[in-house]
Amino acid sequence: MLEIGVFCFCTVSYNYSLLNTTKYLKLDSRQKFKYNLIRISFRMKTERFKFILKIVELEAVLWFAGLIYLLTVNPYEVQQFSFCPFHNLGITFCPGCGLGRSISFIYHGDLFHSLQMHPLGVIALILISIRIIKLSNKMYHNYHKTKEVIYG
């Protein structure tokens, strides 16, 4: 993750430095053409990035990532790592703790343990999946609409 970030930063800053140097250098027409090509491609890249940012719903991505993450967890093992800030602070009372393991038990088909872990697990899974479907539906419509607005 960090490597990808560093790579993106380097490419962006490199392209940006090229953009600024063209103002001060004396160039012949061929070199100017080359620099202009770089400039245009850079601008198109940033515009595409903005376009993607406009369409993608952060909420849908995070819910989906959460549900996928719970597929990789084994609920029968002893819990080692928790996202919950209360749990990490050492407070034992938290109304939301056990929800992840509860959903994970449903994936394994163990409804009894799921309800024991957290009674809202089944409802949470249904509600979150409905929300993901609604948001992705909206994303699909927004994609066509914004494409019309930007590219005509």
């Binding site: 719903e57 909420e59 109304p95 939301g96 929800l99 809202l120 949470a124």
Partner: protein, 116 residues
């Protein structure tokens, strides 16, 4: 031709673009009526932000009730904003939540205003 900046100066950004595209084909009277109804039904993103911040004090999920997502609201309320993580997501995402609700209301009102 109705102008958004005259009728609804308080809205901005994405919402402004959306409303201007809705108002474009209305005449002046219809647009005025649309603006009046829309102003009363609209939810301000700032209200959503403040109400989301209440979630850190114990009662979370009010923003979901306000924007007509009763199911998610109950889930947030009973699980403490899904261990605070849901509340933090909503905190980052408050503008989109408000815009989603406003978009729905604007579509309804535009249908009404065209029949008037």
């Amino acid at each position: 031709m109705a102008n958004v900046l005259d009728l609804l100066p308080e809205i901005m950004g994405e919402e402004q673009m959306y409303i201007s595209s809705l108002i474009k084909n209305m005449d002046d009277k219809q647009a005025f009526q649309f603006a009046n109804i829309y102003r009363t039904r609209r939810k301000d993103p700032q209200t959503i932000l403040l109400v989301t911040l209440v979630g850190f004090l114990g009662i979370s999920g009010i923003q979901r009730f306000l924007t007509d997502q009763i199911g998610m609201g109950i889930l947030y309320l009973l699980t403490g904003g899904i261990c605070m993580i849901g509340t933090i997501i909503d905190l980052v995402n408050h503008k989109k939540i408000a815009f989603e609700y406003n978009q729905k209301q604007a579509n309804q009102i535009a249908m009404m205003a065209k029949n008037l």
